[in-house]
Amino acid sequence: MKKMIFPAAIAVLLLILPVMLTSYGIKLTAEVFIMSIFVLSLGLITGYAGLVSLGHAAFFGIGAYTIALLGKFVPNTFVLLASAIIFAALIALLTGFLFIRSSGAYFLMITLAFSQMLYAVAYKLKGVTGGSDGMSVAASLDFGFGPISGSMGLYYVMAVSVMICYVLLRMFINSPAGKAIIGVKENESRMRALGYSVRSYKLLAYTISGGIAGYAGGLYAFYNYFVSPDTLNWNFSGQVLVMIIIGGVGTLFGPPIGAAVFVILQNYISSYTERWPMIMGVIFVAFVLYGRGGIANLLLLAWRKISRRQKEINSPALNSSEKISKDETKGVTEA
């Protein structure tokens, strides 16, 4: 039961947060949620399966364009979002089948090239996608009780979505398949020697990850009313990878933190100076040099220190709190 307190507190906080925010803040936070889902999806393959992709925007973009293109003909939100997920997952499955034979830097470059190709297609197919001008989204978000268009409505849709994704992913990484994927990241040759099909597990993680990224892209299309080829660009993939690293690799709560920090920083800095890319770049570099494996890991270190101190104060009843911090840290990789 104790384990549930923290997540429940976060959930309540997310639900009452809009009261404290300006309308701009609400819109920005909704964007953070969408990005969080996307970052979680990439975090799954990067942090747990050890696959570093620089082309994950491909699946986000596929999801977004699915809504934009299909939304012209099908108004139903459920159908549209399901299509975004399935279509992205399917492409992930097919390309993953080819890409997962390679690993490390090779995988990174191949995924990048793939997403750039999709970018080029979206950019050049002016008749269908509107090319660099992008295209507007005709369908609106409607779960059966009227279209949701206000920023408050969008906020809650995104908030609930991110919580569902988080819970599902949390369940997944504790499942037999999820544990096996962690095993693959830790030691492929041993997993093979134990009889696991390493490729199947990587492909599984990649497909699930692609589907979730597609969902994030679909939500984004509804949120933004507009889709452009930038959603497919490798720069976007790179930014998402940066969010993971800032947040903390190999954790589930790191990616949302990274997304929040990145989006808010970017908005904040760019409202003050045109030179925001340079400042962001300097922050990234500084983060690599001094970040110690991400904010999540720093928080975990702090948490462990606090719980150790608590342990010293009331030493007999220490087991449960220690157990929690141990559980939380298991997935954390080295800094």
Partner: protein
């Protein structure tokens, strides 16, 4: 299509391929020895172009401007390796974040210093001519770029197989621990290799500027194609980069003539095709990086 246009396209494709080769070769050499995917390599290429542009505007002649740019880029590369990258060896994600951050910094710096309107460099007068053989007219500058590319390939071949430095680098690519056990100052070797790669990117950028022009976003175009070349040719081998660069340069150029919308798709199809036959690339040894 007119035969002479076709020939010109082929030379254009080859010249583009050679520019890409110089970048991709730097990428693979750096990757081979340092195991770093330098995402900022395209940005170094771009800076090389802008440096050359600036020195020419200071009334230096093209060749001198090019030489100074290459040297400056090599120094920049050395600084990056010595002060930033050397703490990241073996940490793939950190390298990605670092080099990605450098892209942000460099591209924004370029925008800041040179503005975002496109710039151009005129072809040096000596080579601003065309050569007519029969019915076909070749632009001399592009031919020259092809010659330089081949010369660089020859130089790489010579360094690799005939010099002590080449032997050291080759040994280091096979087994990094060997370097230290041989009593070689590998810090110097690493910095040198990175500086060499950056210098080549600078050379390519300067040489390419009269053909490609200078514009924001050029770093991106070139980086993507170079990475595709590395994948096609195989990691850790500049020979693979040479063949891959010619292939990609040709497919890109000719593809834009015949299928203007889909040259990128063609290149990708080429990559997928090669990967299906040979997962480690044309000249690659192992799939695992």
């Amino acid at each position: 299509m007119d035969l002479s246009i076709l020939f010109v396209q082929i030379i254009t494709g080859l010249a583009y391929g050679m520019l890409l080769f110089m970048i991709a070769a730097g990428l693979t050499i750096i990757f081979g020895l340092l195991s770093v995917v330098n995402l900022a390599h395209g940005a170094l290429f771009m800076i090389g172009g802008y440096f050359t542009f600036t020195f020419i505007n200071q009334h230096l002649n093209f060749w001198l401007a090019l030489l100074i740019s290459v040297i400056l880029l090599a120094i920049l590369g050395m600084l990056i390796e010595r002060f930033l990258l050397n703490r990241m060896y073996g940490k793939e994600l950190e390298q990605v974040l670092l080099t990605f951050g450098l892209i942000f910094i460099f591209t924004d710096l370029v925008k800041w210093i040179w503005g975002s309107s496109p710039k151009s460099i005129s072809i040096p007068p000596l080579l601003d001519a065309s050569l007519t053989i029969g019915v076909v007219t070749f632009p001399v500058y592009r031919l020259f770029v092809v010659v330089v590319g081949c010369a660089v390939a020859l130089l790489l071949w010579y360094i690799e197989s005939r010099t002590r430095i080449g032997a050291i680098v080759r040994a280091g690519v096979d087994d990094r621990h060997m370097l230290s056990s041989l009593g070689i100052n590998f810090k110097l070797v690493f910095a040198g290799v990175f500086a060499f790669g950056a210098g080549m990117a600078g050379l390519s950028g300067g040489l390419g500027a009269p053909i490609l022009g200078l514009y924001s976003g050029m770093d991106n175009d070139v980086l993507i194609l170079s990475l595709v070349i590395v994948v096609i040719g195989g990691l850790k081998t500049w020979k693979g980069a040479f063949i891959g660069a010619i292939l990609v340069g040709m497919v890109d150029t000719l593809g834009q003539v015949w299928f203007p919308s889909f040259s990128m798709v063609l290149i990708f199809a080429l990559m997928v095709f090669i990967l299906l036959i040979k997962p480690s690339g044309l000249f690659g040894k192992g799939v695992d990086a």
